[in-house]
Symmetry: C3
Subunit: 338 residues, 3 copies
């Protein structure tokens, strides 16, 4: 397949973008504003990088209407420059799709059904009663336990584990090391010893979801753990048993959601944030990085509890005051907090 | 094996529970109060779900004495409804145990001793001088390095790594992706470069412990890292080198314990909490989620440092004041903190 | 290879250390001050353990000049006792290096070049156009995707994934479960759906870096994600796409660095800390454990935002006051914060 080299005019027509400047300019690749050179298309979406526009050596730039006048080279004008750039950049993703077929080393249960159009890589095992859909790619070193469904067009990149009773919809993308369907952390104390509570549920993951590298999604205790469609989880995210995450919600790296929490649609959870168990968060809630949600949230909006670092010597003096804040407030005549 | 369908009277007798209502009712499965239907047993342990009791369509409910009067269906009365339910639910866990034997693809060192009653799955390698006990199950894709012991009845579900010098007691359960016995993070700075400090110790894990998916327990630098019996770690937990964790302590997801910390027995550590290195926490300490322990704790009780999220605009105004809290306190006439 | 048993005089000469006491004493192993016995060398570097010096039964101790007078046994005096001990302990690391050669079960692409002096373990796959240098060790269960370079003397212990376009310099050490080169978390919202932004860059990792167990380093969107030489990452660390980490920086377990952050040289980041995206941290900055950096840092020094746990009942009263801190400050006559 020869590398593509569309003209700006072709890109403008294909992606419904405005065109300023010479439409005959050809694009042979994509790069950042600061590094783009001959034949490369750059983009401007985050205002932090506006300073790089004037000096760019890109062949052309994708940007918003408001920035077009300051662009020293031809440009494509988009309502959402980042989305437009994503679509154009996808033209330049290289690499052939893995060929259909099951690698000779793979171990597939007799009663598993693998679509002839699916790819199963080396050192992968697939358990009893599993189904793998058309066009699915299961990379090297994956372990698919019993009673799992891998929908059409899914991609499990490498070393993914689906433990048991995991059902992935269509086009779900799971990055290396992720573990879906492990036993939830259900324990009861009895006579001074922990007793394991059986985890009899499964995991349902909707179409177009993405699960980051080394992330974990536990299976439900009785009902299933559920991700609705188009949920996006970054790396090292922990999702406890019986959690329900609404469609189009995105969680950055290292977020932890405790068991039986119910998160709405179109929520954004910043890196390292924590959400306690057995609570609800409504649609369109943003949680800032490293914040902790301990009670249900019923109003859309932004919520925070993590403070920003300051010089440590000053921080420690302030923190020492915090430890006596209630006493300080009482001394000021504030009513007791108890 | 036919599915079990005990009567309530049989369950009451077997697990020493009180019975209210028709003891001839048969139970064919378990479910939540809200979802249980014909033939299914539910339970009420967490008061958050008491509202589901009146409308339940369960065949019967396991609950505490105090809730029995409000139960619209037959019930089993337990001092600890959650523990009783755990024992009953275990009757309904399906799936045959993996058959004894070593998969043809597994690579086992000549001088490793694998009990004939143990199961070793495909694509698993077992190093020199290892021992695998009776009834142990080592799932697919595991790597067991040199000089490890997997005790009788252990279960390593899939893709578990025991790096080297890891000794698991009996019935230890390790979830996929966990890494036990990696080198501790021991570094010395010398002439502007990091110098690796050899990690010559191992890891000892007591009977009935559990290690969650993608959790990491480093081996000791000189002595061993130790988990006493019945320690329970959730997913994505980090345990540094030379940590010692007392029996029956449980840690929720994403907890991090730094090197050489010594944690007592019957402690509970909330998700995302951190414990600094080279300190001691006594028995029966609870650390709330995302809190940070920086000094030894010598009194049992509950400890916290993580604030709960509030509306971000208000939070930011409060956080701005925090950054000047010492100055504010001084202005009020409080003595200096320095 | 017989176990080494150097005399103190030999060690002093080899590592340029001072010697106090009988230089003919032989050392047959290393241990902690508290546990060392006959023939074992201990060390004293952390003042927390000075109390163990008087009663030590070690054959000898490595320590600083200031502690030499209190040492009841022969000692080796070092400017940096920890570094000196690290060098001596390395003499006692046991275990032969894995033999050169590719395991029969490994799957290596036809056009990959594996140095004959490299070791490739069982169940490992190596993709198209990869290069593996002399003396490199790739342990069991690794997945090396297309277009990767594993430099000379690298060690990938087990179950490591290099997804694609990852270039490791010389002597890079990657612990089990680590995932390097996964797609960055680049998403654009378009018409209510997430659109994946292609991640066309790679990852460059300099000489002598170390990546901990189950850590993740995403590949760049357009440019590469970069770790300069001698960067040391502990377990469960998350590094987002296009991050740049300067030489000799060390990050403890569970740190998360968001995309496009630029971290300087000789920085120290405490466990569980978070660094937001698209910012810069200058050289020689220390971030304390679980702190959150949300703005660029331009002055070397120590920075903090994480409070230490206190008794929960008192903490909750203080936290309740925090939630009204701005109002409290205004009541005191402080100017508005808005």
């Amino acid at each position: 397949m020869p590398a593509p080299s569309p003209t700006l005019a072709e890109l403008a027509a294909r992606f419904a973008l405005g065109l300023r400047g010479d439409g005959a300019v050809r694009v042979r690749g994509v790069a950042t504003l600061a590094r783009a050179g001959e034949g490369q298309l750059a983009f401007l979406a985050n205002p932090r990088y506006r300073q790089d526009l004037a000096g760019t050596r890109a062949a052309a730039v994708v940007l918003a209407e408001a920035d077009a006048a300051d662009c020293p080279v031809p440009c494509l004008v988009a309502a959402s420059p980042y989305a437009a750039f994503a679509r154009i950049a996808a033209l330049f993703e290289t690499g052939p799709a893995p060929a259909p077929g099951v690698h000779a080393s793979a171990v597939v249960a007799d009663d598993a059904r693998v679509d002839p159009g699916a790819h199963v890589g080396p050192f992968t095992s697939i358990g009893a009663r599993c189904q793998v859909g058309a066009g699915a790619v299961i990379g090297p070193g994956c372990v698919i336990g019993d009673d799992c469904v891998v929908g059409p067009g899914c991609e499990l990149l490498a070393r993914v584990t689906l433990v048991t009773r995991v059902r992935l919809g269509a086009r779900v993308r799971v990055h290396p090391g992720a573990v879906i369907g492990a036993e939830g952390f259900g324990l009861a104390m009895e006579a001074g010893q922990w007793l394991k509570v059986p985890q009899l549920g499964g995991v349902q993951i909707g179409d177009d979801c993405e699960v980051g590298a080394n992330s974990c999604i536990d299976r439900g205790a009785l009902d299933d753990t559920v991700l609705e469609q188009d949920v996006r989880l970054d790396n090292l995210v922990q999702v406890g048993h019986n959690v329900h995450i609404g469609a189009h919600t995105a969680m950055a790296g290292c977020v932890a959601v405790a068991g039986s929490a119910r998160i709405g649609r179109y929520c954004l959870v910043g890196g390292g944030a924590g959400i306690a168990g057995h609570l609800s968060v409504c649609d369109r809630v943003t949680i800032t990085a490293m914040s902790l949600v301990t009670a249900s949230i019923t109003e859309p909006g932004e919520y925070a509890s993590a403070m920003a670092a300051q010089e440590a010597r000053r921080f420690r003096r302030n923190a020492a005051r915090f430890r006596q804040l209630d006493a300080l407030a009482r001394r000021m005549g504030a009513p007791p907090k108890d």
